[in-house]
Amino acid sequence: MTTILPILPEILLLALGILILTIDPFLKKESSRRSFLGWFTAVGLLVTLAISLLIARPAESILVVGGMLRFDWLGFIFKMFFVFAAGITSLFFMEVEALNHRAEIYFLLLAATLGMCLMASSADLIMLYLAIETTSIPLYLLAGFLKKDEKSTEAGFKYMLFGALTSAVLLYGFSLIFGFTGKTSLYDLSQYFSSFNLVAVGITFLVLTGLAFKVSLFPFHFWAPDVYEGAPTPVAGFLSTASKAAGFAVLIRLFIAVFPSLSSDWSLILAILATLTMTVGNLIALTQKNVKRLLAYSSIAHAGYAMIGVVAFSQLGFASVVFYLIGYILTNLLAFGIVSLVGSTTGSDDYPAYAGLSRRNPALGLAALVAFLSLAGMPPFVGFVAKFLVFSAAIETGWVWLAIVGILNSIVGLYYYLNVLKYVYLYRMENQDEQQHVIPVSRRVVFALAILVIGVLLLGSLFGPWFGFASKAAISLF
């Protein structure tokens, strides 16, 4: 039993995926399939979450499955949020006409989630690479799932090409590590990287490139806007949250386990990367006219903010990154959920589609307010606390200038988020007949959005216990 417990979430995910493919042929009628498959996935994920939380909590950090995985709080917390994000995303899938009757998307979603869970807990280079590919391939498929939509096909293809390229770079880095050390376990490697030499620099560079793509750090960010814009909106939401968080989980683990002593030399480079990522993401976001592209650039900027915590390289720093990502998962899922809903009702993701939203559906308008303000970093939403923590970590370790850069960036962010809210609250539809164009919201979406709004508020006000989890995750790494 003890050998199964650490990988219980993964086992349940796999079982759920197989179940879905099994029952799919038995469902005939289009309409019953539709809600059944989605609900089945969502409830299955909820059960997975509940069971894992109840019986599969890690006690102390141990290597399991022959040293392939590490069973610790960092992995566990990330896993729980991946499962949560997948559950919410499956509810959003049900709203999209072209997707909701296909069993494959739910299976692909579960497969990607499984891969992310493995990513977050991999303790071995081979396992890590396999996990990354298990995550990526279903995501390529999901991004290009709307076969008849040119943009979606382009998104899937582009994502795959860049993804494959950077995966190859990453793999090259891994093979060099193995070649020079003869070891593949992450936790055996740190001794080989204790001194600053050319090989170490080269390897770090290759590995960083591969991971930078995953979390869309500058200069490997350019795929994100096109992919997010073209992919079905719920997929984009999942990509920008869970997949990015998984990339960060790997990044954190690698940096602490493999390159702890290199970090002092690398921190300036990482700080510059963070600065560029934030600034580029925010400045380009300013000029966007499409909310999905806006969120894509803003998600690049958010990767930059989260990097501040990595740069700080302290316990508080890593705890703040974990907290930042948790908050970001909740907030961005909420934002993409709203975009998905507005997109499927109005058929457009451009700003004018949001005009009069607060009159067409006041509750949805309020949810948009919560999402965008949280992204902008306003209390009492989680975005404020998350930013506060990363800046605090930066200042603790003396990176005052980086905190100032982050804060200047968040002002730019506030400006463009407010621009969207201006459409939601201030502008009206052309004929001012919002009452005739009420946006209908199905119960499942109300459910999903309500959970997210409550989550954003809860983490933003009663943040103590949640930060406690994040700290536990950070402590488990050292």
Binding site: S358, R359, P362, L366, L369, L373, M378, P379, P380, F384, F388, F391, S392, I395, E396, V400, A403, I404, I407, S410, I411, L414, Y415, L418, L421, K422, Y425, L426, F463, G464, F467, G468, S471
Partner: protein
């Protein structure tokens, strides 16, 4: 454990806002009644807190402390001293009168009152917080709803521009202070955001000199300090009446108060070092604000710039770092809050009826709107510092304080009193006396009972404090003692 007055005051508006959001949009009457009852409840508690505050004991009272995030030393820590207790009362008053004045809002009153109350919660929170983190938390909550309130319900011509400008100015100011606060936190080595502990930490003079200015000025942006005052008149003018009342009446005090509490009280050496600069900036505020106000033709811009001028007096009072100056500044914050609330309420009433705020297009309004005219006259007398009104109680000590520091500054600042007197009297004469333009004949309907109650309440406060300064001065005095102790008994 006593009854948690302050938490109840802080969270009442927030709970009311959430409650209001649960109504259907059509239930406008129920929404308004809920709003008014919540506001009256909060005011009643603030009055209770004000009068039961023990001035003889002084210090922080009604203290409540709950651990919020022990790992970083963040706690929900409330308490009021002699400086903040009048401001809590002021917020209660402006909240009640603001709701009364906004009774007639027809466009989405549900959202309007909800946002207004979220703002009010933030304001109460800042005045009552003794924790640096929570102070920021509430500060941002207080600042942000302004954007929506102005941009949705504001004056259609300038609201988008003014709302964005205001939000960005204030956000920039607050995040600059936030960096300062974080540096204070990590430098103190105490691992707590508790300001009572941070007050006792002796930071090195160099540190204080470097960080005082960002912290103080960051907050003072919201207090309208020159050269960062530019957002304020535009914001005032674009905002709907109740929001202007809140904005000029309470929010600007928020900036001044936070600048005092975090800037001066945590970094007293820095304050001493930079006091001449602050004084210079405040002097520009006072004189320049008064002159600009005197050339405006828009009634609301006159009041907007006069606020810049009067907030300059508050900053000036702080910058003297003398007991008289601080005392005057404390009273001025309250007095100016009530006065501008009254001014903006009356401007709103005039505009709702005449549909113009251009002073040359108005006239003879005293006949149809006698109470409004009296309100403006009382406000004018307060703003020029006439004895017998609260403005005198505030301005006289400030000038005494300035005189003790630098007599020349007092002389120059005194010019503003003359300018103020000239423009407020001119406005009164042009708007309320003389002949009513024909375009307005027959359009001027009388104000309703709620408006009257609000006006009378505001006027009574200003006259009351003017005649019986003992209703306010001892409170502020007890707060000043504590600040002086931190400054090393100057």
């Amino acid at each position: 454990m006593h009854f948690p007055f302050l938490s109840v005051i802080v969270f009442t508006p927030l709970v009311a806002a959430l409650g209001i959001l649960l109504y259907k949009p059509e239930q406008k009457k129920a929404i308004r009644i809920t709003a008014l009852s919540a506001a009256i409840f909060a005011l009643a508690l603030s009055v209770w807190v004000y009068f039961t505050y023990d001035k003889a004991v002084a210090g922080y009272q009604f203290v409540e402390k709950y651990n919020w995030m022990p790992m970083l030393g963040i706690s929900l820590h409330f308490g009021v001293d002699g400086m903040s207790v009048p401001l809590v009362l002021l917020t209660g008053i402006v909240m009640v009168t603001g709701v009364m004045i906004s009774w007639g809002i027809e466009d989405r009153p549900r959202e309007f009152f909800a946002f207004l109350f979220i703002l009010a919660s933030g304001v109460f929170g800042v005045f009552a917080s003794l924790d640096l983190f929570m102070l920021f938390f509430f500060y941002e909550i207080a600042v942000f709803p302004m954007y929506l309130l102005i941009s949705i319900w504001g004056w259609i011509k300038t609201r988008e521009y003014a709302a964005m400008k205001l939000t960005l100015y204030l956000f920039i100011g607050s995040v600059v202070s936030l960096i300062g606060a974080l540096v204070i936190y990590w430098t103190s080595g105490q691992h707590t955001f508790d300001m009572l502990v941070l007050e006792t930490v002796k930071f090195t003079p160099t540190f204080q000199k470097i960080w005082f200015l960002p912290v103080f000025l960051g907050f003072a942006v919201l207090g309208g300090i020159f050269p960062f005052h530019n957002w304020s008149p535009d914001g005032h003018v674009a905002a709907p009446t109740a929001v202007s009342m809140f904005h000029a009446g309470v929010l600007m005090k928020l900036g001044a108060f936070a600048a005092l509490r975090v800037g001066i009280m945590l970094l007293p050496e820095g304050a001493k070092f930079w006091a001449p600069l602050i004084m210079g900036l405040a002097l520009i505020n006072i004189v320049y604000g008064a002159f600009i106000a005197s050339v405006q033709s828009d009634f609301k811009y006159v009041i907007g710039f006069s606020s810049v001028s009067h907030m300059g007096l508050v900053m000036m009072g702080f910058a003297t770092l003398k007991p008289e100056g601080l005392l005057g500044a404390g009273v001025q914050m309250f007095s100016h809050g009530v006065m501008t609330a009254l001014f903006f309420a009356t401007v709103g009433m005039v505009y709702d009826r005449a549909h113009t705020r251009q002073i040359p297009e108005l006239g003879g309004l005293i006949k149809p709107l006698p109470l409004v005219a009296i309100g403006v006259i009382v406000g004018s007398l307060v703003s020029m510092g006439m004895p017998g009104f609260s403005g005198f109680v505030a301005e006289f000590p400030i000038f005494m304080g300035i005189w003790r520091t630098q007599w020349l500054v007092a002389v120059i600042a005194a010019i503003s009193i003359i300018v103020t007197a000239s423009y407020v009297l001119l406005v009164v004469r042009r708007v309320f006396f003389g002949k009513m333009p024909e375009t307005l004949q027959g359009h001027i309907t009388p104000i309703n009972t709620l408006d009257k109650i609000a006006l009378v309440l505001l006027m009574a406060l200003m006259i009351g404090i003017g005649i019986f300064p003992a209703l306010m001065v001892p409170w502020v005095q007890s707060g000043v003692q504590h600040i002086l102790a931190l400054l090393g008994g100057a």
